[in-house]
């Protein structure tokens, strides 16, 4: 997908006047919505929309063995699938470099802040622990997948119930879904992505903006106001001043995202509600 030069010109000339093609200001997100509890069979789930970008996250809880170097901790595994329904050039097959990068950005943000209290996720220390599978499904791609996927991931974790682990008479561990407790979550994290185009910084670049971006910086922000991860992507560069400016913007915008999560958690939704009138 190429963007015509004339469109690039208009994006740039509008930004000169702090305007964007879709009518937003440089620091403005598209409409954001989050629906939790959309996959009843999963232990946790959420669907997040930023503009026309749609990300679905399902969380499955299983039992397994801990990592040898962390015998007293549960395991968190983050995986992202760019399923071919979402975009003309997404192809069936194992996750490509973009999907792996995205999963790892989210994985690091969750890990560095101990978002999930993995120490509380052991069943038999050193032998059996909970495994939290966080699977990200991109359903519609219109730019800024990082922020949407992080938002859906965070909301899904907060929606997760951990089934009680019970040993049967032969010592096998079974999970009892009827007795489930909320996943222990220490704190929340969101990602704010900021694009650089024509030397200007813009929040939440959409697909056509992403195609003309010189570079992008995705900044993870914890709800305690720390910077918990950064990823610069794109072929061009940022100056130190631009990074500092971007962090300041991200800190500011993160509050909006935390509010969206809080609102979504108040009321479980359904896929039907989330997907209707989406197209």
């Amino acid at each position: 997908m190429l963007i015509p030069k004339i469109k690039k010109k208009s994006i740039l000339s509008m930004l000169e006047r702090d305007l964007r093609l879709d009518g937003r200001s440089p620091n403005q997100y598209r409409d954001i919505s989050v629906h939790v509890g959309v996959i009843e069979k999963a232990e946790g789930s959420a669907l997040a929309k930023i503009g026309n970008t749609v990300a679905l996250v399902g969380i499955k809880v299983g039992v397994g063995t801990p990592f040898p170097d962390l015998p007293d901790q549960g395991v968190l595994a983050v995986n992202a699938e760019f399923v071919p329904l979402a975009f003309p050039t997404f192809e069936p097959g194992p996750p490509d470099e973009n999907a792996v990068e995205l999963a790892r950005i989210i994985d690091r943000s969750l890990r560095e802040l101990d978002v999930v209290d993995l120490k509380k996720m052991t069943i038999i220390p050193g032998e059996k622990v909970y495994i939290i599978w966080l699977d990200i499904y991109v359903l519609d791609h219109d730019g800024n997948l990082t922020d949407a996927c992080m938002l859906a991931s965070m909301a899904a974790l907060l929606n997760t119930k951990v089934p009680k682990a019970e040993a049967d008479d032969r010592g096998f561990i079974k999970l009892n879904k009827d007795e489930a407790t909320p996943l222990p979550v220490n704190r929340r994290v969101v990602i704010v992505s900021i694009g650089k185009v024509g030397g200007k910084l813009i929040v939440d670049p959409n697909l056509e903006e992403e195609q003309v971006l010189e570079a992008k910086l995705s900044i993870s922000i914890g709800d305690n106001g720390v910077v918990a991860g950064m990823q610069k992507t794109g072929l061009s560069s940022f100056t130190q001043e631009e990074v500092e400016k971007a962090v300041e913007i991200a800190l500011n915008k993160s509050k909006e995202l935390f509010t969206v999560i809080d609102e979504a958690l108040k009321k479980p939704s359904s896929l039907w509600e989330a997907l209707r009138n989406n197209g």
């Binding site: 996959i39 009843e40 069979k41 999963a42 789930s45 026309n52 749609v54 679905l56 399902g58 969380i59 499955k60 299983g62 995986n79 699938e81 399923v83 071919p84 329904l85 979402a86 975009f87 003309p88 069936p92 194992p94 599978w133 699977d135 499904y137 359903l139 519609d140 791609h141 219109d142 896929l271 039907w272 997907l275 209707r276 989406n278 197209g279």
Partner: protein, 248 residues
């Protein structure tokens, strides 16, 4: 659960585990045009089963040797989300998913006017977001709606349902619990206007008489689903015609 206590799938009144009678479908609802990027898309819920389908094309074929000089190629992927099942499913396609992709593709190909689009490909993607039995059938129902939504000429829609045999009784539209314990499971799909059966599988054992009865029962369910499909399409497109008339 120990093996002694057997699940009662049909009680003495003939009610099934979720309260249905033998010939009842589960609650079903469908919507088209649920995705922006796809040329056509549809979402179908049938009981606890949730399926989304998207169509891209007709479009250029890569790699090019897969193209046919006289008709469009159809590619189909049936895939289950890792979180769709009770235990997490690996996202890598299983042998089951590969087989189902093939039989679904063949069913859909029987109604598409592929000769209208030589040297192109029509891609059909089905994602099972939550599995509660009958996912290939819901997938087909959704995929044919997505083809219609994409504006691809088709002879007919395809509606599908699974018939099961539980404790000697033939039942319509089995759910996952019934599927796990049933004596036979027979998914079928039809191009209803032509009375053509375009997908038929049987997993289990039926007598020849039961086979005919099972097909009869399946047809009944399929006609109901077919009516709903047509309603879904009409609702969307009649409304948009009216809207465009107001504008012009």
């Amino acid at each position: 659960m120990s093996s002694e206590d057997k699940i009662v799938l049909i009680d003495e009144k003939g009610r099934r585990i979720d309260g249905r009678g033998p010939e009842d479908l589960r609650p079903i609802r469908m919507e088209i045009d649920v995705l922006k990027n796809a040329d056509g898309s549809a979402y179908v819920e049938q009981g606890g089963t949730k399926v989304i389908a998207a169509v891209y094309g007709p479009r250029e074929v890569h790699p090019r040797h897969l193209a046919f000089p006289d008709r469009a190629a159809i590619r189909c992927r049936y895939h289950m989300a890792p979180f769709s099942t009770s235990e997490r499913k690996s996202p890598a396609p299983s042998r089951r998913e590969i087989e189902l992709s093939k039989v679904i593709r063949e069913a859909l190909e029987s109604v598409v006017f592929t000769q209208l689009y030589p040297r192109t490909v029509i891609d059909i993607f089905i994602e099972v977001l939550q599995a509660d039995g009958g996912t290939r059938c819901a997938g087909l129902t959704a995929a044919s709606l997505a083809l219609a939504d994409a504006g691809i000429p088709i002879r007919d829609l395809i509606a599908a349902v699974a018939v099961g045999k539980i404790d000697g009784v033939l039942v319509l539209d089995i759910n996952e619990t019934e599927d796990e314990h049933c004596e036979a499971d027979m998914p079928m799909a039809m191009a209803p206007s032509f009375n053509e059966i375009v997908l038929l599988q049987l997993n289990g054992v039926l007598s020849p008489e039961e086979t005919s009865k099972a097909i009869e029962l399946g047809k009944k369910g399929i006609m109901k689903i077919y009516e709903l499909q047509k309603e879904t399409l009409k609702k969307k497109y009649e409304l948009s015609t009216r809207r465009s008339q107001v504008v012009t």
